[in-house]
Amino acid sequence: MNGYGGNILRVNLTTGKTIKEPTPPELARDFIGGRGFGAYLLFKEVPQGADPLGPENKLIISSGPLAGLMIPGAGKCDFTCKSPLTGGYASSSLGGMFTAELKYAGIDSIILDGISPKPVYLFIDDDKIELRDAASLWGKGTIGVEKELKEKLGEEFQIAVIGPGGENGVSYACINHDYGREAGRGGVGTVMGVKKVKAIAVHGTQSIPVADVEGYRKAGMALFKVCKEADGLKPWQDYGTTIVVSWCDEVGALPTRNFSAGSFEGGKTLYGPVMREQIVITDKGCFGCPSPCGKYSRMKRYNTNVEGPEYETIGMLGSNLGIPDIQDVAQANLLCDDLGVDTISTGACISWAMECYEKGILTMQDTDGLELKFGNVEAVFKLIEKIARREGFGALLAQGVKKASKKTGQGSEKFAIQVKGMEQSAYATHNATAMLLAYMTCDVGAHHNRAWAITYDLQVGRDLVKPEKVARVIWLQNFRPMFDVLGACRLQWVELGIDRDLYVPALEAITGVRRTWEDLEKVGERIWNLTRLYWARENAGFGREWDQPAPRFYLEPPKTGVTAGQITKYEDAQKLLDMYYEQRGWTPAGLPTPETLSRLGLASLVA
């Protein structure tokens, strides 16, 4: 099938059996690839009520039709499963080289099913597929294991690996690749860990077939040309996502001390140019990327290297913990990566614990003697380790901030910054209604990347509560995740501002199927609605209550910074939801109507 690896690899870890079957053309037609494949396969194949940590849950790893091809940033891989963090849909995107290598091995998706009786790693070398013993790798950090496997198998192998966090059942464990790329969110690494899969090593030597070689070459070259000529190329190459640290600080969106404010008095020493000057040694791109946001850094103080930190990590392990030093943040980043825990959720859990400590809700007796004041770097390092090992106080935080705050009580739920059980990523939304709505309605919990609407808030008026804002969020939610479906990065469109229509002839030449963005957005809407149905199927009473923002954003205006005294009213958040449900074609309770399902071709799937 043009544009595809051509096969779905099923791995039953309980029995050790592996089966390759052809990728169904109708799956490619209706869901295209990547996140679309994941959402469909999760809905169809993981039985209702499956325990996220049980054998029935599946980890579905999918490439897309642009991945591995001569297309800018064609290096995106989707990891989907039932989330052990939220109990709903989890989908996390991984950059790097892994997705391309899957395609060169003739694979579009890997479906990991069951639970292995002992630690294994999945070995794929074109058609040679084996589960190999991983007893000697179990317990080790991700970076050392990747290096060990590359030395043993060869540099051309691409490795996805979990750390102790995934082995030990931390609810937000991640999957690491290429010494610093992560599928970070929702506990995809937790599911890999419970299945006892330490790593996946893949190597492929096959070409990816395309429908029209000349047309594809021309369209691919045209995409690279506009990227290279874009005004925004140089600053993005220099700073990557850290370019927004200063902007967020200035507009009051930089999470500070557990989102109690949006500007950090120590922010300036975390800005992109400071990081570039102090620690960055190499730019590091994902597959085919002309504008690499990956920055490889050296921390002289610690004598260590890390890929990063990128913006989210700077926010969550820097300003949100009251830490103003980029080397300290980078070192915390390295600990999280090597131990295999998501930097965003880890940072959020620690910032919540710090607020509890400063308010006297938790004392040193609770925290194993750690003085959890904001800014205490040593305590943060120790706590990351404790979380990953689920040791002592770390075991409480390893469950995620929703469960930890529920157990702790004493009003701490009100400053647990999460939606649907997922910790909010690094945009403070005290007064940014579109971004707040984006977090409230995001399909995995409070994650930013489906609808990065905060710039729109600033453009049109941050406190506006109007249908246009809601429409913008919905459009972004339908459109942006399509890049995760296609297997390419969205940032060339977002940050370099290239014309998205340039992808249309490329996709057509590659797959032989013409799809306009209007068609693609409809697929995006289909996936969005399917995942909404998945949440409802797995959670009795699912609906509006699951879409509520963290109370801090309507109860406690920041005392400092540019958003001091500003807040979104609770009633306004509800108005936003009303408009959102209506525009989506959902009931007032927040569920797709039969008409909407029928319009999107989902009626038969859910009948």
């Binding site: 001569m70 391309a100 290096k147 290429d178 070409s207 691919g220 190459q237 190499t282 990327c289």
Partner: protein, 134 residues
């Protein structure tokens, strides 16, 4: 004319490799590219790229005369005349003469098509006269 690389600018993205394989073989297959990327990670954390200098030692060594000059002045492998003897491989000072019998039934090398330069977003690759570059 020859291809040059500035390793300090390379981000290891491999766009050059897939563009190269597409031009040489009409394949999307970085394993069949005529540049060699050597990542050095996790330490020291740098990319090393090897490119053909068009020194011609491979052509001098080739017993069948399969390595010829094209109209760009670059040495290329005439696939129909290559016998996969591998004589060219050890004499290449940059380790960018490729023979992988499982992947192709001829040796391959850089023919200076320039597609790698076109897709390199970091401007780490360029083509210039040796005289001008010196």
């Amino acid at each position: 004319m020859r291809l040059y690389v500035d390793n300090a600018k390379c981000s290891g993205c491999r766009a050059c490799l897939v563009a190269c394989s597409l031009n040489l073989f009409e394949e999307n297959n970085p394993k069949k590219a005529a540049l060699r990327l050597i990542p050095h990670f996790p330490a020291p954390g740098v990319f090393e790229m090897k490119v053909c200098t068009q020194c011609g030692k491979c052509a001098d060594e080739c017993p069948t005369g399969a390595i010829k000059k094209n109209d760009r002045g670059a040495y290329y492998v005439d696939f129909s005349e290559c016998t996969l003897c591998e004589a060219c491989v050890p004499v290449c000072p940059e380790d960018v003469m490729f023979v992988r019998a499982e992947l192709a039934d001829a040796a391959w090398k850089c023919d200076l098509c320039g597609d790698c330069v076109s897709v390199c977003g970091m401007s780490a690759l360029w083509i210039a006269d040796e005289a001008a570059a010196a």
